[in-house]
Each structure stands twice: as structure tokens, then as C-alpha cells.
């Protein structure tokens, strides 16, 4: 039976999940955006062409993306302890979530920036724009709708990852689902957490779409 205690547990779990996801999304964007910019601009034929750096950078990003999250989370426990002081709880979970999402963001940012019309970049060059000016005044503003959607996809992904983090003491809705829904056979609690997760993902996507639309001026 769902009682007041369980409802408040679900409420706190939701808040924990939101906290993990939003902070990890923010930090991963902060770290992943420059890496994405580096990936795009050092590519052959681009404004800061550096084929070697481009390949090394791309390799590291791919490596980061190819490690399954559940393994990554366990593997970097010493690092997590170093940063967060503990490896258990929502604050600790933010560390592996950020580490996992950063290369993901970098790749998505790279994809969004590559969509910027080469002609527009050439036009800026013809006006004497420097590479930093091209990045800040042309590429990022022109790719903004795509960048917003990239962050949205990342946040949605992190909702999933955060539930996984819950399974090894990360807190949040995933933790509830494992401890009550799975270990204590409370199918009703399991169902509630799933419904909340679905609503969360829908909400994040709708918000992202709305913000992206605001920046979209192509027609």
C-alpha cells in the first residue's frame, strides 16, 4: 500500500535524481563544450586545422564513450572518493555521471558545430574575423539550437545513467526502484518510479525542444 512515507520517499528520490542529473549535465556541458569545439575546429580544412591533435582528441572521446557506464562507475571509485570524499550517495554519483557524459557531450557538440555552413565561416574570415571570434560569434550562435538539443539528449541519457547509479548506492529513483521494487517485491513502487522517470524524460525533452525553437530563426 502506498502511504505518506512512501510518497515522501518518492518525492525525495525525484529531487535527488533531478539534482544529480542537472548538476552532472551542467558540469559535463562545461567540460564537453570546449572539447567539442576543439574536435571541430582542428579537423582538416577547418579554422584551426591540427590533424594530429584532432585524431588524439577524437580517440580519447571515443574511448570515454565506449566504456559501459556501470563499469566506468565502479572503475573510477578511487577518483570519486578523491573528489567527493565518499563513493556512496547522490553527491558521489555526480562524479561518474559527469565523467561519463563529458565525451558524450563533446561528440554531440562536434556534430552540431559541423552543421554550421562553411560559407558563413568563410564570410566571417573574409571580414577579418579571428578564430576566437569565429568560434564565439559565428559557430556557437549559429549552432545554438543544435547545441541545446545536444544538452537535452545528454540530460535524458543521464536520467537513465542516474538510475543505474542508484543500483550501487547512488541514491535517487533508481535506488528506490532497486531497494523497494526489486529487493522487497514492491511492484507498485517500481511502477511509480518508472512513471516518474518517464514523466521526467518527457519534461526534459519538451523543455529542450522549446528552448531550441526559441533560438531557431531559419524560417
Amino acid at each position: 500500500m502506498i502511504n505518506q512515507a512512501i510518497l515522501s520517499m518518492l518525492w525525495n528520490g525525484t529531487l535527488d535524481t533531478l539534482r544529480m542529473v542537472s548538476i552532472a549535465t551542467f558540469l559535463a556541458t562545461l567540460a564537453g563544450l570546449p572539447v567539442g569545439v576543439l574536435l571541430t575546429t582542428t579537423a582538416p580544412g577547418h579554422i584551426l586545422e591540427q590533424p594530429f591533435l584532432h585524431r588524439v582528441c577524437g580517440g580519447i572521446v571515443n574511448l570515454g564513450r565506449s566504456i559501459p557506464f556501470i563499469i566506468l562507475m565502479v572503475a573510477i571509485i578511487p577518483f570519486t572518493r578523491l573528489i567527493a570524499g565518499t563513493s556512496i550517495g547522490t553527491t558521489a554519483a555526480i562524479v561518474p555521471l559527469t565523467v561519463a557524459a563529458t565525451p558524450f557531450v563533446a561528440r554531440l557538440v562536434d556534430g552540431a558545430l559541423r552543421e554550421v555552413d562553411a560559407g558563413v565561416i568563410e564570410a566571417a574570415e573574409s571580414m577579418g574575423a579571428t578564430p576566437p571570434q569565429i568560434i564565439y560569434k559565428v559557430m556557437i550562435p549559429e549552432a545554438l539550437p543544435g547545441l541545446v538539443l545536444a544538452v537535452t539528449v545528454t540530460a535524458v541519457n543521464l536520467v537513465g545513467y542516474s538510475a543505474m547509479a542508484g543500483s550501487i548506492g547512488g541514491g535517487g529513483l533508481g535506488d528506490l526502484a532497486i531497494r523497494y521494487g526489486y529487493q522487497r517485491f514492491r511492484g507498485d513502487i517500481m511502477l511509480m518510479t518508472v512513471i516518474i522517470l518517464v514523466l521526467l524524460v518527457q519534461g526534459i525533452q519538451m523543455l529542450g525542444d522549446a528552448v531550441a525553437r526559441k533560438f531557431y530563426h531559419r524560417n
Binding site: G119, A123, A124, S126, M127, G128, P141, H217
Partner: protein, 333 residues
């Protein structure tokens, strides 16, 4: 004044393209200079060598006494602010309003805000877009977008404007209006305009001088009237032929009579040369085709005529026409 000295450029790739094969060309200040050629002739590469969007492999590019290949990135960035560029596909920033697009080069050059507002207002008036300043490029027609592109290119008061196929993506009416705008700008601001195009009409409407390119070399340069009336290179002749000459019905071509192609330039257009020809030489002249056009400001006419008469009368007629400074070419083989 712009000078190319033996400029070469090859694009390496799976199949290397030798885009420029030793171009020598000088472009005087203050005029509208056209560069025409088929696609792949190297004209876009050539114009991109002026502001170093493409770096020549060898040779020199001089703009107003400055050797462009030798500039440091910083100097190049500065000198690019004195060279405006207009593109075929406009290349406007979709994330910025029309106002912000025109203001963009001023922002890059760190103009004070007040000056930017003033300058953009003047430019918007010049290109006739005062009422669209708060709109986005996505809401404009092609012609309006190109007007924004032109205003943007003029923002930092360049001495030189490069137009890379600026009207090729526009419909015929819009093309005319954009060309008029360029002509007007050239007259009012006294700046040099270099126009890259594959359309003879563009050269005809606005250019003072023209260079004809083929296979990465300049085949011919000269005043437009001269190149149009007396083309010396095969490339120029073939571009002109497609532009001027009608396809004569084959019945007309096989009458056995001589068909002449007469080209009139400048004052000759106003004189009744044909009537004088008939009276003087006693031949019958059958007019098959004719047109009069305007080359920027000079009138220019073409006639295809069939001469009916004896061989002697024919050669007399040709001599008479040449004496009267009409360009004569035997049209049928």
C-alpha cells in the same frame, strides 16, 4: 589597383585540380571589373586569392601596393576589413537579425555601439532595407538577402568589393535590381568592384572591363565594348556566341547567299549604314535578325544580314562596311 603576377594554385586531393595556371592580371581602381568563364575556369579561386581565402602556391597578389601573400595573420585580418565580399549563397548568419548581420563586421572591428547604429542605418537606406532591420534572414527573399550581404560587405567602408557569383542564385528581375544596386554603389562610393560570373548579361549590364578565363588562365582582357565587338580569343568568342547569336533556321542558312554578322558599337548604332550600303553598292540586303543592347552605358547592336548580289558586289559591300567601322564577320561557312 590589384595585380596578379604569375599566380598558380593547385588543389591536392584524390584528383589534383590545377585551378590557376600562371595568372597575370591587373585590375584598375574605381571601375567595375568582370571576370567571366565557365564553371571550373578558376575564377572563384582567383578572386579568393585577393583576400587570401585561398593561398596561391606561387606568384604574387598585390592590392594597393601591398603584397597580400606576405602578410602575417594579424595584418591580413586588418587588410581584409578593407575588402568587402559578397557571396552567391549570401552566407548570412541565421541567428542574427538583419541589423545584427550588417553590424557584424563592425562588431568584429570593435566599433563603438553608437557608430554601429549610425552606420547600419545609412547602409540599410543605401540598399533599401530600412523596414526589414529587425527581421531575420530566414524571412527575406533571395534578392533581399543579397542586399543584406552587400550592405554587410560595405559596412567597414572597403575600397574594394568582391562579388562571387552574387546574382547567380537570383531570378532575372532580382538579378537586374541587384546589378543596378552594384552600379549605383560603384558610382556613389567610387569603390572598385570585381564581379565573378558565368553570365554574359552581368558583364553587359555593369562592367567597364572584362577578363575571360578558361582552364585556369586569363585568355583575354579589355574594355567590355572591345571584347564584345572584337573578341580575340576562342574562349571569348564562344561565350559571346552563346549569348548573342540566334539559331537560324536551316532553310535560311542554305540559300547559297553570304550571311554576314555585323556588329555596331557606340555612335555607329545611330547611323543608317544599311541604307547607305544598299545605295552605294547596289546589293539587296535581307535582314534576318537584329538586336540593340546597352553595354553598361554604350549602345551596341548586332545584325545578321543576307547579301544578294554578285561576288564583286559582295566584296565591295564588306569593304564599305569595314570603312564605316562596322565589325563584319561571315556568319555561314
Amino acid at each position: 589597383m590589384i595585380e596578379f603576377k604569375n599566380v598558380h594554385k593547385t588543389f591536392e586531393g584524390r584528383a589534383s585540380v590545377h585551378a590557376l595556371r600562371g595568372v597575370d592580371l591587373s585590375i584598375p581602381s574605381g571601375e567595375i571589373f568582370g571576370i567571366i568563364g565557365q564553371s571550373g575556369a578558376g575564377k572563384s579561386t582567383l578572386v579568393r586569392c585577393i583576400n587570401m581565402l585561398e593561398r596561391p602556391d606561387s606568384g604574387e597578389v598585390w592590392v594597393d601596393g601591398v603584397l597580400m601573400n606576405s602578410l602575417s595573420p594579424k595584418e591580413l585580418s586588418k587588410s581584409r576589413k578593407r575588402i568587402g565580399m559578397v557571396f552567391q549563397h549570401f552566407n548570412l548568419l541565421n541567428s542574427r537579425t538583419v541589423f545584427q548581420n550588417i553590424a557584424f563586421p563592425l562588431e568584429l572591428a570593435r566599433y563603438p555601439k553608437k557608430d554601429i547604429v549610425e552606420r547600419v542605418t545609412v547602409l540599410a537606406e543605401l540598399v533599401g532595407l530600412t523596414d526589414k532591420l529587425q527581421g531575420y534572414p530566414g524571412q527575406l527573399s533571395g534578392g533581399q538577402k543579397q542586399r543584406v550581404g552587400i550592405a554587410r560587405a560595405l559596412a567597414t567602408q572597403p575600397r574594394l568589393l568582391l562579388c562571387d557569383e552574387a546574382t547567380s542564385a537570383l531570378d532575372p528581375d532580382t538579378t537586374i535590381s541587384v546589378l543596378r544596386l552594384l552600379k549605383d554603389i560603384n558610382e556613389r562610393l567610387k569603390l572598385t568592384i570585381i564581379v565573378i560570373t558565368h553570365e554574359m548579361q552581368v558583364i553587359q549590364e555593369i562592367c567597364d572591363q572584362v577578363a575571360v578565363m578558361e582552364n585556369g588562365t586569363v585568355q583575354e582582357t579589355g574594355r567590355v565594348v572591345d571584347v564584345f565587338t572584337r573578341p580575340r580569343s576562342r574562349a571569348a568568342r564562344s561565350m559571346l556566341q552563346g549569348f548573342w547569336d540566334p539559331k537560324l533556321p536551316s532553310a535560311l542558312q542554305s540559300t547559297g547567299n553570304t550571311i554576314l554578322r555585323l556588329t555596331f558599337a557606340n555612335q555607329k548604332v545611330h547611323q543608317p549604314v544599311i541604307a547607305q550600303l544598299v545605295r552605294t553598292c547596289g546589293v539587296d540586303v535581307n535582314i534576318l535578325y537584329g538586336r540593340i543592347d546597352q553595354l553598361k552605358t554604350a549602345p551596341f547592336g548586332i545584325l545578321l544580314v543576307e547579301l544578294v548580289g554578285s561576288n564583286e558586289q559582295r566584296s565591295q559591300s564588306i569593304a564599305f562596311l569595314q570603312e564605316n567601322q562596322v565589325e563584319v564577320e561571315v556568319f555561314n561557312p
